[in-house]
């Protein structure tokens, strides 16, 4: 697997620190679904999406999430967006970050994605001073 175990340890530790917030989705979900830094090496953008959607639990045979965006920056760059923001608020990064947008193009025989890289601003939903949902990314 391309994911380093160090990364997963980091996610686990963060999950423990944010377990005070009992709603869902959580910051841990946000990290798992939307953060990939440094960008996992891949032969091409489509394969990046096919592999990452599988690794992060969003693609199983007959069960494909239709759309997902991965942001390639330090998670701290996005947590700072939510600092001192009220729960449930939508906050947008001032900075642009490299992102990969994955879109489902076929679900049979396996989930197949088309991947595209952009440099986008990122809008997130905050809760407990942390991003929990990626609302959208745009120029």
């Amino acid at each position: 697997m391309a994911m380093s175990s160090l990364w997963w340890t980091a996610i686990l530790l963060l999950a423990l620190t944010v377990s005070m917030f009992s709603g869902a989705p959580t910051y841990q979900d946000f990290l798992q679904r939307h953060m990939d830094f440094p960008r996992t090496p891949s032969s091409d953008d489509n394969n990046y999406c096919n592999v990452m959607m599988m690794q992060r639990g969003m693609s199983f045979p007959g069960r494909c999430v239709t759309h997902n965006t991965f942001v390639h920056t330090e998670p701290a760059d996005l947590t700072s967006v939510c600092t001192n923001q009220p729960d449930d608020s939508l906050c947008t990064s001032g900075q642009h970050f490299p992102v990969t947008v994955c879109n489902l193009i076929r679900s049979h025989p396996t989930c197949a994605y088309s991947g595209n890289q952009f440099n986008h601003r990122v809008r997130v939903k905050c809760a407990g001073d942390l991003p929990v949902v990626l609302d959208s990314t745009f120029q």
Binding site: R33, N47, V51
Partner: protein, 456 residues
Amino acid sequence: MDLDIQCEEMNPSRWAELLSTMKSCSTIRLDDCNLSSSNCKDLSSIIHTNPSLKELKLNNNELGDAGIDYLSKGLLTPSCSLQKLWLQNCNLTSASCETLRSVLSAQPSLTELHVGDNKLGTAGVKVLCQGLMNPNCKLQKLQLEYCELTADIVEALNAALQAKPTLKELSLSNNTLGDTAVKQLCRGLVEASCDLELLHLENCGITSDSCRDISAVLSNKPSLLNLAVGDNKIGDAGLALLCQGLLHPNCKIQKLWLWDCDLTSASCKDLSRVFSTKETLLEVSLIDNNLRDSGMEMLCQALKDPKAHLQELWVRECGLTAACCKAVSSVLSVNKHLQVLHIGENKLGNAGVEILCEGLLHPDCNIHSLWLGNCDITAACCATLANVMVTKQNLIELDLSYNTLEDEGVMKLCEAVRNPNCKIQQLILYDIFWGPEVNDELKALEEARPDVKIIS
């Protein structure tokens, strides 16, 4: 027995345990398991000693050319009767093609080879084609996506096609072939005796220039069931040319993939004619084309024709609004064939989706899978959706991801799931925010309705 593992890091003890299982497996799938060339030595001896092994899928492992070299020792043993070999994204280069050439030449049992996402290059695949030319080779499916092929490959491919009457599926997507090469390939396909069933040429640098030749394949190959030309800028002019082939009486197309093809509403006139005349047509993807409401309305008119047998329509991200929903709804109420509708990433809004629900409730509507992700719907729409969920017994899959449904909306959906009349099997609520109260309700629901998968 099947071994099917994905995304698991192998440690030596786990590997040893799996090896003993693999001795009797007919299918081995180890996708993205961090395998390296050294694991291939073991796999080679499994191939050698397990005559029941039919499928080997090792996608997304860094096996490298050395790994394939080890594998080939097993694959070249006469007792090996492997039918399907998947080596996608395995860090192979042209050097592996020599090995694969000898496997193709020596193994008449091999019917499928998937080697996409490897930098084989034109030179490498030319060597592979020599294996295909061997009379021993009985390959039916060849997948060469993202292999860094150039226009120069077509001559070798055409020669192999002429020599391979067994070939049924060919995928060359994501290689920069360009129009000249695609024209040449199409002429080769028309001449070849193979009964080609699937042709995938997505993102191959195709414009309207080569669409006349693709059209000729459609009208000359009644065996062709599945054509994918998505992610090529063919435009309305290219689509019009394709439709000539699609409308030809010989053409028996079932699946048509035209996503991100720079189509506008102007294409929908030609597509309508295909929808209302081609009874074989079952699945169409038009995602990421700017069809707009007017285009969608034309397609809907066609889908009301009794000859329209379409079962699955993907129109995600097509610039649709509530304005086209009345037309879609009227299709749902008269067309008994349509089962799957992907209409997400369109600004339908609550008003649009409520109109769709009217059609869904019609007794003749057979939609079992409805995808409405990111359609700008809110809690206000959820009572209507909940009513559909408990009334429409054949609706088993509903995707409402990326909509701001709020706690109130999700609670309404949960209430519907609790109703024993609700036959939903999968409710997909991906990336929707809700609070602890909804979370508790979802947990309770998991126990109350274990047959319903709520994916979030």
